[in-house]
Amino acid sequence: METVPRPGKGVPLKKDKLQAKRKKPRRYWEEETAPTAAGASPGPPRKKKKNLELRRQKLKNAHNSKKSWSSKKSQVTKKSREQRRPREQKNLREQKKPGSQQSLSGAQDPFPGPAPVPVQKARKFCRIDKSKKLPHSLPKTQSKLEVAEALEEEISIKAARSELLLAEEPGFLEGDDGEDTAKIRQADIVEAVDIASAAKHFDLNLRQFGPYRLDYSRTGRHMTFAGRRGHVAALDWVTKKLMCEINVMEAVRDIRFLHSEALLAVAQNRWLHIYDNQGIELHCVRRCDRVTRLEFLPFHFLLTTASETGFLTYLDVSVGKIVAALNARAGRLNVMAQNPYNAVIHLGHSNGTVSLWSPSVQEPLAKILCHRGGVQAVAVDSTGTLALNCVPQGGLRLMAILLPQPPKCWDHRYMATSGLDHQLKVFDLRGTYQPLSARTLPLGAGHLAFSQRGLLAAGMGDVVNIWTGQGKATLPALERPYLTHRLAGPVHGLQFCPFEDVLGVGHSGGITSMLVPGAAEPNFDGLESNPYRSRKQRQEWEVKALLEKVPAELICLNPRALAEVDVISLEQRKKERMERLGYDPEAKAPFQPKPKRKGRSSTGSMVKRKKKVLEQEHRDKVRQSLEEQQKQQKQQKAKPTGVQPSALDRFVR
């Protein structure tokens, strides 16, 4: 007897079903039970002498979140159809059944349907508070809300499913039992890691052109650096391919990549210059003069400059317009950092305060007194970038209401500051602005940098110290450093490379690329910042990024507040609108008499006519107000006054 169910030729459907119904012996290739979700992968061996691992990247693991969007939509529509027309759906199902059940070879899919997702995992990515009930609304709005909710659910499931693809694990450095990791030198690390990772440690000896500042591109693939004495270079630091190298023959104070590695902004002695990756000067922005520090807000396409003259300028790179120029009123600005969570600029001042700025407000959003001496360096934790991405814009306002809270894991925001009082402090940026931890350093940290995973690096003289926390995005414990490294000269620039366990240090002796295991995020979003992208992909990304540009006026301290309902009176709204536009759009144009001929259009008559109209208007107004008053009086009179109070009432208790 044949036990294998096979696609019968011309066998009617009923028979097929019967065959399927009959319990057939299980084959050796079939799984006994439903496959459980992939268990926790075995962790790296922990007991080795020097457990040292630098993360390696693979292109195939690029986590593309956007693909899931397109497929999800169709699923949603299908779902709604199922609700509406169950009969049709049934028919469809019946038609599909034989096809889906039997494959050509007669073997059955041992794992039919999409992979199951455990609820716990999906909940981790869910951004809706399901316990809250939807507000009562009309069916149209209701349906919209439902669709949004279903969408969100789908997203969370997709995200949970594709979490499996985030195969890379962060690197780590563990000393022997009792060994201090800070004692491990770079040479040891380089010796222990694989060749590819070891190649990421290098020194550039550039003693001629003074202390260097450096910047990594957002993908972490490219590096640019500029010496004080005018040496500007950009290179693909992974392959060590030089893109350009020029001397601008002028003092250079800071350098920064714009949205892609193709453009660099250089703060030169007088003005701000923009070069392309060939070293060709594209622009000279004379409105930004004597710039000391540069920052680039990637989602808003804003280049922020802090100048010696005390101005903070926002330059929209996509349209080449200066969005805002704010006077900080605090003297020379030479300490600046951006908060990646809300794109707020942090400025450090000589009076020990740190002020937070947004281009849409003329005064600082907040001012924090951090140090007794001047602030030397500021750095803001990079967590929360995802939260920024999630803020929906434009049409999906209702959805924004649905998404009040970001997942808790993103909700760690720290700012590290160091001042002339030789203190290093870590502040909580979640509304309280209180120092969470503080340390006194032998020589105050002149430069600070946070890595993607929350490691804090501080440059103190010619030494770089790195502190780490207990896990991702936790407060770095300042008790003892995780790594230390001595450089050839005093540190002048400090930045962690995104998606690579590398810390770039610019100093007076050149550039040093340090290995810092566990510094960077191991998995990157291939559609957002792909280190391996081609030129074409970059161009494509550029277009998309420009389309998704966030308007500069949306920068505020709490980006989530944009999703909240604004409760203001109509008057105030009108006033604000007037303030925003600079004029009253609803104001009536003043009466301008038409010129008349035959000598009747003399100035005197014109004025008379104007006056007449004005008076008429005034009279109308007065009449109206009088009428209103009368009405009110009548109403008051109409009100029953009640019983006349008698003189004896005073004795009533």
Partner: protein, 697 residues
């Protein structure tokens, strides 16, 4: 009802109109008919016409009704008018003759009948009909279309529509269905099919080759499992057997082997006896076999002089003649037995054998005797090995084989897969036992002392540390606690092996969870907390007693102190391995350093004071202002140096409503701007919009 009346009216009107039309027609027809009858009246008519034409000269057509003044022969039938009669002229009246005649009654009746009959209703206006038709059509179509409403609604609500909407689901037809009607035509196809058939490749139906099918059939999961299990079992058994054999082979005890051999022989005999009973022929064969085996065994050189008896005799042979003889005899026998059989009678054989024996014996004996001078290496080795083996085995072996046997029995009983685990376990146990034995041996000597000393060392070091920390500042109390904890832990862990003890020293630094950190922070800013607590309390009192001013004053004071504390809290300095050196500093660096020093020197309390001042100003600026409407000089004297009275001021002061509390009210080191972000607010959902979204749309 009303409609019916209306219809009736309309019908009547229609009739009237008809009759008028008829008259008109008559009027037009008249000239033709009249020309024949009356030639005279022509002139008059012309005259009339002329008059009419004259009359109509002024543009207005006049319809002059000729008055009927007197009876005349000529009565124009057109000029009959009902004027003055007061009632309408009816048709029946016209028919009525001057005298009533019976002959006309029938006609009258007929007429009345005609009249009583209802006139056919006039068809409605074209427009109206069309309108009605339109209405009906609209209703019908809207009804027919209404069944699509839900679909339209759904499509409108859908986020995305893909056309064509009703897509035929892709049906999965098995390929054999597709190829059912298809036949090979071209020579190439035919060739391919030939090849396929030759190789018994299925073309249509099962799509599995017979081989595959067979394999599928052969390999159901259960079968496969069973087979695998069997194979595993066989393999396991084989391995056990092999292991056992190897072990037994290694056993040097002769006694054991003897016993085994004897047991085997006995077994064989038993079997043989049984065979005899059952199958004599087979038994014979077996007997032969046994015999042969015995012969083979005997033929080997084993039994020449290796027996216990032979050995003892060999020792004795030197001195004892009897023994020598016995030995010789034995050797002779051996020789005899090992000799190749010749087809000779037994007696001859024996004789020859004895002769040869006599020849052969002396050599061997001599050899032995010669060897007695020096130590016999073979003998010696044997003895030594025996002795050693005995010595070694005595303490160790008795337990080991036992264990092994036990394990064997267990292993054999248990199904495959677990054997390895069990073996591992046993090995571990054995090693453990050994180590424990070793350690036991070592323990009494120094372990106690070392432990004690190490723990004491730990304690002393911890004490020293705690002292240091105490000296440093109060902030490190927490660590102290930690240390104490670790001390306790260490005491607890003394029973653990010695290797872990060095770790204990590092514990305090290494074991620090997030909570500990937080605790630390708490400690650090406990002062702040303590100070902020009174602030909170102050607030409470404020609420209860409404005594605002006092509380705010107190608060301000505390704020000052608070901020001072905040910035002056001594934080522990970092113990960096690499302390920065300032040897290689460039000129500008030095300059910078100088500047820094100056700045540091001038940095101080004024920073805090400035900040507080700034904050105060900010608070003041953000507060809604009171409106003072007092006009000086009204109702009282005004002028320079005269202020309006307090009462008046109080009366005309409009107090601004108390705004919401500032966000930085309890944060002394922060000024948070209360200004609204107008630009961002433009993008926010306003309440009215939300209402419309929820209710109107």
């Amino acid at each position: 009802m009303q409609a019916a009346e209306m219809n009736a009216m309309r019908a009547a009107e229609g009739l009237l109109a008809l009759s008028q039309q008829e008259e008109l027609v008559d009027l037009q027809d008249y000239p033709l008919s009249a020309s024949e009858d009356e030639g005279d009246s022509d002139g008059e008519r012309k005259h009339q016409k002329l008059l009419e034409s004259i009359g109509s000269l002024d543009g207005k057509k006049r319809w002059k009704l000729a008055e009927r003044s007197e009876a005349s022969l000529k009565v124009s039938e057109f000029n009959v008018s009902s004027e003055g009669s007061g009632e309408k002229l009816l048709l029946s009246d016209l028919l009525e003759p001057a005298k009533t005649s019976s002959s006309l009654a029938a006609v009258k009746k007929q007429l009345s009948r005609v009249k009583s009959k209802k006139a056919v209703e006039l068809p409605l206006n074209k427009q109206e009909v069309e309108r009605i038709n339109r209405e009906v059509a609209f209703n019908k179509t809207s009804q027919t279309l209404s069944k699509w409403d839900p679909i339209v609604l759904k499509n409108r609500q859908a986020e995305q529509l893909v056309f064509p909407l009703e897509k035929e689901p892709a049906s999965f037809v098995p390929i054999e269905h597709v190829f059912g009607s298809w036949k090979a035509r071209t020579p190439l196809e035919q060739e391919i099919f030939n090849i396929l058939y030759k190789n018994k490749q299925p073309v249509t139906d099962p799509l599995l080759t017979p081989m595959e099918k067979a394999s599928l059939k052969a390999m159901s999961l259960e079968e496969a499992k069973m087979r695998r299990a069997e194979l595993q079992r066989a393999r396991a058994l084989q391995s056990y057997y092999e292991a056992k054999a190897r072990r037994e082979k290694k056993i040097k005890s002769k006694k054991y082997h003897k016993i085994v051999k004897k047991g085997k022989v006995k077994k064989a005999l038993k079997e043989f006896e049984q065979l005899q009973k059952v199958n004599p022929a087979a038994a014979l064969e077996e007997l032969e076999k046994i015999e042969k085996a015995r012969m083979m065994e005997r033929m080997s050189l084993k039994h020449q002089n290796s027996g216990k008896w032979a050995k003892s005799k060999a020792i004795m042979a030197k001195y004892d003649l009897e023994a020598r003889q016995a030995m010789q005899e034995q050797l002779a026998k051996n020789k005899e037995l090992t000799q190749k059989l010749q087809v000779v009678s037994e007696s001859e054989e024996e004789e020859k054998g004895t002769e040869e024996e006599e020849l052969l014996v002396p050599d061997a004996v001599n050899e032995i005797q010669m060897c007695t001078d020096g130590p016999n290496p073979w003998m010696l080795r044997n003895c030594n090995s025996d002795a050693k083996g005995e010595i070694q085995k005595d303490p160790e072996q008795p337990p080991e084989p036992m264990v092994q046997e036990v394990s064997e029995s267990e292993e054999e009983e248990k199904p495959g897969g677990e054997e390895e685990v069990l073996l591992q376990e046993f090995e571990e146990r054995r090693s453990l036992r050994k180590s424990s034995e070793l350690s036991k041996n070592a323990e009494p000597v120094g372990s106690q002392k070392t432990k004690d000393s190490s723990s004491q060392e730990v304690l002393s070091e911890l004490k020293a540390l705690t002292q240091k920390l105490n000296q440093k500042n109060c902030q490190s109390k927490k660590q102290n606690v930690n240390l104490v904890k670790t001390v306790l832990q260490g005491q607890r862990e003394e029973c653990a092996p010695e290797e872990e003890e060095p770790l204990l020293l590092q514990r305090p630094e290494r074991v620090q969870t997030l909570e500990d950190l937080e605790d630390l922070d708490h400690e650090e800013y406990s002062q702040i907390r303590e100070l902020s607590r009174p602030v909170l309390e102050g607030e409470r009192t404020e609420r209860t007693t409404d005594n605002q001013t006092d509380a705010s004053k107190g608060k301000k004071k505390e704020q000052m102190i608070d901020l001072q504390n905040l910035l002056t809290t001594k934080s522990p300095s970092v113990k960096s391995l690499a302390v920065p050196t300032a040897i290689e500093e460039l000129e500008d660096e030095e300059e910078k350093h100088q500047k820094q020093i100056i700045k540091e020197a001038f940095a101080g309390d004024d920073v805090i004071r400035d900040f507080l001042k700034e904050k105060k100003e900010a608070v003041k600026a953000s507060k809604p202002k009171d409106v003072d409407l007092t006009l000086p000089g009204w109702g009282e004297w005004g002028g320079i140096g005269l202020k309006p009275s307090a009462k008046k001021r109080r009366r005309f002061l409009i107090k601004a409503p108390e705004g919401p509390p500032r966000k930085d009210k309890n944060l002394p080191n922060v000024i948070i701007s209360e200004k609204r972000n107008i630009q961002a607010a433009a993008h926010q959902v306003r309440l009215r919009e939300l209402m419309t979204a929820c209710s109107v749309s």
